[in-house]
Symmetry: C2
Subunit: 342 residues, 2 copies
């Protein structure tokens, strides 16, 4: 069917090993033979069978990347950052979408294993949960290749984390709002069973106390990460007698939902409410107003995830958890609170 090194070898009147040598450049080949072989490779547009290569080589120079849902711009950004980082180091990437389906998640892990990838990176899904699923931890610990994720897998000895310092992000958001003069700050969206959200929320509660502000339970509105979550959480905040003047949203999508709910009421951002979101994806630059958002530095995140994975593949000894400090991308969704009309 397809052309093989044997076909090339026969036509070039050399041995298959010689063809293999020019392919891998692992050994010297005389210039004239090399030229002959290269000419035929060109002529037939020959592509060595990656399966056969992978079968005989010890490493595949391949990384498996699993994300929760590529349709979420956050995951799309991270995957591209990882792919760029991997390619830069001569590695290829297998990208898979768990579509937020726990069964698929396990299947993908198995598929990566059977593809003999050199490392696995997972972003989202079960690695994000506050309480790690012991079943999943066992699966991960049974892996024979390095495993890196943005979240910590509790109780795992084999999983490494390279993630974002969620608390530092809240620090940035909170002090930005304080500087503008806000004192009634709400926390919107997400689920507390997600570790990064839980950490954001804890830090938010802590900062309220540290700044002498009351911690009001009705200023914390859980509800998820989608647009509708933002809408309904915001509606609940709008229904309060004593409304907040500023909102920290768990991500860009829920923030856009919050803005929509605010507009429904005939109110506006940032005049009536200041909003800071997290992720700083496409959405935050496409929204009206442009969203002030906590930025993770996707390039660094990709570099870190891939770097960690490959260092592990080389059996280097590295810390089991590393955190990146986010920055604040200030845009147009925050302002000083309105003076109370007296």
């Amino acid at each position: 069917m397809a052309v093989t090194i044997y076909d090339i070898a026969k036509e070039a009147k050399v041995s298959p090993s010689t063809v293999s040598r020019v392919l891998t450049s692992n050994a010297k080949v005389s210039p004239e033979k090399e030229r002959a072989v290269r000419a035929l490779i060109e002529k037939y547009n020959f592509q060595p069978n990656a399966l056969a290569q992978g079968l005989s080589e010890t490493q595949s120079r391949t990384i498996g990347l699993m994300v929760a849902d590529i349709r979420n711009p956050y995951y799309a950004e991270v995957s591209v950052a990882c792919e760029v980082a991997a390619n830069k180091r001569g590695y290829k990437m297998f990208l898979s979408n768990a579509r937020s389906n726990p069964e698929l998640e396990v299947e993908i892990l198995e598929r990566f294993t059977s593809l003999r990838v050199d490392a696995i990176i997972q972003i989202g899904c079960r690695v994000d949960e506050l309480e790690s699923d012991p079943e999943y931890v066992k699966k991960v610990d049974n892996l024979s290749v390095p495993f890196v994720s943005t979240g910590v897998l509790d109780g795992s000895k084999r999983a490494y984390a390279f993630g974002i310092d969620s608390m530092a992000g809240i620090d940035l958001a909170f002090s930005h709002l304080l500087e503008l003069g806000h004192e009634k700050i709400a926390f919107l969206g997400g689920w507390l069973r997600v570790r990064s959200t839980y950490q954001k929320w804890m830090r938010y509660i802590y900062l309220l106390g540290a700044n002498g502000l009351p911690a009001r339970t009705d200023y914390v509105q859980e509800g998820g990460y989608v647009f509708e979550a933002g809408v309904s959480c915001m509606r609940r905040l709008l229904a309060l007698d004593d409304r907040p003047t500023a909102i920290i949203a768990v991500n860009d999508i829920s923030a856009t939902g919050a803005i929509a709910a605010i507009r429904e009421e005939g109110l506006s951002v940032p005049e009536d409410f200041s909003i800071i979101s997290h992720d700083n994806t496409l959405l935050s630059s496409v929204c009206v107003p442009l969203l002030t958002s906590v930025d993770y530095g996707y390039e660094k995140l990709g570099e870190g995830l891939v770097g960690t994975a490959l260092r592990l593949a080389k059996h280097e000894i590295i810390p089991q958890e590393t955190l990146l400090t986010p920055t604040l991308s200030v845009k147009n969704s925050c302002a000083r609170p309105r003076k109370p009309v007296s």
Copy 2:
């Protein structure tokens, strides 16, 4: 290193073939042996080496999917739809991102070839161009596996297209605007060198004539598919003495840019301008106002692309081009034009 069927066979006191048989269930195996083998597979969490499987089998039950840029929600939607369609048929997907880089595009084609995928699907990049790159057509025609894309590759005998009827989308948008009473309709964003955009534009020009409306060159503003393109195209329309009252945007992203530009002027959508976009992605449901957008039916598109690819892989004879008719997702970005103040 890793467990193989030989290890399993030895421990189960059967031959490797028997293990292979329970793996593939291609032949009968006695119940007790099967049980023994399955127990060991379980015990060692054995994953057959996909590389070795692919090497000895004739087909890999694998499809290579290349998209221009997964960060664009349109491509994200299409890839997920394709992945779902492929999985449903028992196929796995390799997803690759060309990152709008022509060199990468060729590399990905080669990589898919060397992974011995059963078919290749490409969405975006060079398959979208109005004038197909002959170099690329040659590459595609040299492929030994079926090739399907959303766009037509001119002069190719091996490339199949399963796409969207761009003209029908314009028909929907145009008549919706006409019914609302608009007569000054502009066309915003994109590049005419992209086939689908060119077709939209042609149809737009045709419909103007067919409805007795003048074709004004300053009502057509090319500029690309990103947010900034929408902003600058819209600014140019706003600078006209005789402004349009409705805008057909080439995609959701440029439409959000247009809205931002309109807001800059203190004007609003849909009160001052009606906007219809294309793609009906996440953005159109996250925007204020919600965007009326031409919807492609991503599920059907994915089914069609994958179905075409697999039918070709089975050497079925099918039409070289198939078009899907889009629908209009009516939301809140269109209204009747303001009565001219007399």
